[in-house]
Amino acid sequence: MNRALLLTVLALCGCGDPPTAALATRRQAICGTPATAATRTIYEGLKAECAGCHQSGTRGYFSSLGAFQALLVSDPRLVNPGNPDGSELMKLLEGKGTGAFKQMPIAGQTYAMRTAAAGASVAEIRAWITGLTAQARDNRPDPLARPITRMSAQQMQRALYQQLGLDHADFFIVASEFSLPMAETRGDTRYPVQSQDALPAPRQPQASGRFEGLGGGAVIGQVRADTSISPTYVLTLQQTAQAWCRLALAKPGNTALFAAGGVPASDAASVKATIERWSLHFLAQPMTPADVDALHADVFVPLLAETNQTNAYVGLCSYFIRHPLWSLY
């Protein structure tokens, strides 16, 4: 395909569009050259030798056939279609690399020397590169990729301590067991959160269980950190946010939520001013006046009517902590 025709086709495919245009449609045309059956054969053949190191990370060529095609086959720095001797991949396999590494695998015999029984022989790889035509590479970001994640349990604990004016002493008292420093909870109704790995370690398992409910890992407990959005995470954050907001509002001298401390008046102007301030405090962005009015009307006013102003402020405070913009980044 000549260059002009290729550019025309690419344009028709929408491959030259800026990402935002494609994002608006939720889908974007597939522009990269697809992996052929021959490529798949080579991928499978190389995989046994290469996947151990190249399964993930910035050089995760073998995490999938798609990754192999997009990151390696379509990268002219590594594979020069039609020219095996001009391909760095071939040079690396034969111990003639020109970059930081002379060969792959890095140590021992070269691939060419060690793969008599491998799925892809050097001759087959050479033939495959010789038979490759120009490979188009799609450099646009995948609009379906998830660009945001949520805070870890540790980040949440730190952020909440800071934003609510709470600290370790609000949840734990100093204790020791066999001369080891322990964190004795002041009661589970305060919803303490502490990693098993923390020093001093939480003495009661509920604190570490809650930390793990928020997705926290623990080396000592062989618990893997998990930042997925699970019901456990949502429930734990909800319960903890409500309890901690209540603690913060009741804490003497705590100026984190209100400059003067204590629970302020419940008139509309004071509450709306609080909403504006808490939006900046928790979400780091201002709310529109309409949104302030709506939140006041939807949350504070009914809670005030149903219970009292402390509970209404607890509801507002927990709203901001559970807001997607607080936990997602």
Binding site: A67, T189, P231, L235, T236, L295
Partner: protein
């Protein structure tokens, strides 16, 4: 790139590519085939087991070759061919050709007095004493063996703990999940059939039953301990909920703002949060919207859970309640290693009682738990005494598994004439196997799986080990129904075990689910 399921399987999905599942409708719970079971209980026996110490998958020559002779006295392990019996007490034929045998194993209990924990075991030649634990598997009063199939010799493709557990849970070994956990797949598939189950995928311990990009209904709800239920799944505690409990029925809206049929009971804060989350749609990329939608749906799901007051429901459901009518099977029972070298109670073997409550409550589709011997004793034993330690503790751990199955068999199911065990698939797995006793007690990639309940064709030991090999061989070929429908005979892999568990619910391979790397279903295991 044009993608097909086959290509995806051959390529094996990376974690970041699992989102591609949705292109095939795999993200939806559109499963429509007749159900073969409605609940799943998975029990992880941690550390990697000496399966061959409890079951006897070898021929008589294999027993001599791979097992140590009977020894140990009051802490017996090892056995000779003549100690192996079929659990149904039919005549055992260790050298019967083929890969399907009746459920069998070395018998250490005294058939005439199965609480005997001291008498000399004659079949051992006097070198071992009777031990009662494990008898529940063969108790003719309940014949629970008729509901159990053991799949032997599946290659986990790894000998690392986490990777092996992940392989048992999703079919594909790895440090992270490259396919959703079986528990999540089943929870998702059955969600549309049981929309009133607020806790579709409950994890009572162990590695999270990861759902990856499946809908939020399939995401795991982790209950670390019974004491964590109330402050997590209920609005009972004033320190968190005072003044915030009131709910109003609000229109059920999807993330895109369109209407759903059922109204939802929402707190004031919940309603405002859902509104704010809907308002973020379209502000960034579709990928960001997918995260927000997942959060949105989880908000809705958890709000329903709290409104349902699952704690009150659970409070009305008993765990073990039927088996205790037999005085030989009290709810709380003790066991010991040796004379009384170490002992412990059944309550320390895992949250069986809570798992039973959950299964009986109809609040859940899948319950995942960690089972062990007493005092949470796990099975990662590398020492010289590992086979002896493992064999003795495994009998105790498996005794509790069998008692659980019997209790489920005695419990009426939701459908008339059915039992809880009829409605539930029970899947017992470990990280992997262990090298056979003559080779020590190291990690061994070949593992076994126990399937019970539902329409599992019981009293089967399916597969074996390649006894022509030395050391600790892998599994022998077994007939497997491949994704394409053809039957092939090849050594089983972790994918095949996972596929068989999922297929036991009626989900069709390649249609209702798939597992990266290819898979088949054990032939003749599901009725």
């Amino acid at each position: 790139m044009k993608l097909s399921r086959r290509k995806l399987m051959q390529a094996a999905l990376g974690a970041t590519q699992v989102g591609l599942l949705s292109q095939f409708g795999m993200g939806r719970s559109a499963f429509a085939a007749p159900l073969k079971a409605t609940k799943l209980l998975t029990i992880w026996i941690g550390g990697g087991c000496h399966w061959e110490s409890f079951f006897a998958p070898f021929t008589s020559a294999g027993i001599t070759k791979f097992m140590v002779p009977p020894t140990g006295g009051l802490t017996p392990h090892g056995y000779k061919p003549s100690q192996v019996e079929n659990f149904d007490r039919s005549l055992v034929d260790l050298d019967q050709p083929g890969v399907k045998r009746k459920l069998r194993g070395p018998v250490y209990w005294n058939w005439a007095n199965h609480s005997d924990a001291a008498g000399v075991l004659p079949s051992s030649g006097g070198s071992q004493n009777f031990r009662p634990w494990g008898y529940a598997w063969a108790d003719p009063m309940y014949k629970i063996y008729e509901r159990i199939a053991v799949l032997v010799g599946a290659d986990q493709n790894t000998a690392a703990h986490t990777s092996g557990i992940v392989a048992s849970m999703c079919g594909v070994a790895g440090a992270t999940f490259r396919a959703p956990a079986i528990q999540a797949v089943v929870a998702n598939a059955l969600a549309s059939r049981f929309p009133d189950r607020p806790l579709a995928n409950v994890s009572l311990g162990g590695i999270n039953t990861t759902s990856l990009d499946l809908p939020s209904i399939a995401a795991p709800v982790r209950i670390g301990s019974p004491s964590s239920i109330e402050p997590t799944l209920s609005d009972k505690w004033d320190s968190s909920w005072l003044g915030l409990r009131a709910r109003t029925m609000e229109p059920g809206l999807k993330f895109d703002g369109s209407s759903q049929s059922a109204a939802m009971p929402l707190t004031r804060v919940d309603a405002a949060l859902l509104k704010a989350t809907r308002g973020l749609k379209g502000k960034s990329s579709p990928g960001a919207d997918a995260v927000l939608e997942q959060l949105y749906e989880t908000y809705k799901g958890t709000s329903r859970t709290l409104a349902r007051d699952v704690v009150a429901v659970l409070g009305q459901v008993k765990g073990f309640e039927h088996l205790k009518a037999n005085a030989e099977y009290p709810i709380n029972w003790s066991s010991c290693i040796g004379s009384a070298d170490s002992c412990g109670g059944s309550a320390s073997m895992g949250p069986y009682d809570l798992a039973l409550q959950l299964l009986k409550s109809n609040l859940v589709t899948s319950v995942s738990m960690n089972g062990s011997s007493f005092n949470n004793t796990q099975f990662d034993t590398h020492s010289v005494g590992g086979p002896q330690f493992g064999a003795n503790h495994l009998r105790i751990a498996f005794e509790q598994v069998a008692r659980m199955l019997i209790e489920m068999q005695l419990t009426p199911g939701a459908a008339p004439g059915k039992t809880l065990l009829d409605e539930t698939i029970v899947y017992v797995y470990s990280d992997f196997g262990r090298t056979f006793p003559r080779q020590g007690s190291d990690h061994h990639p070949a593992t076994c799986a126990i399937l019970a309940g539902g329409s599992i064709i019981g009293n089967q030991l399916v597969g074996g080990y390649d006894e022509a090999m030395n050391g600790s061989p892998l599994g022998v070929p077994v007939p497997l129904i491949e994704e394409g429908g053809q039957t092939e005979t090849r050594p089983p892999r972790s994918q095949d075990v996972a596929a068989t568990v999922i297929n036991a619910f009626g989900l069709e391979p390649g249609k209702d689910f798939f597992i990266p790397g290819g898979y088949g279903v054990f032939d003749g295991v599901i009725g």
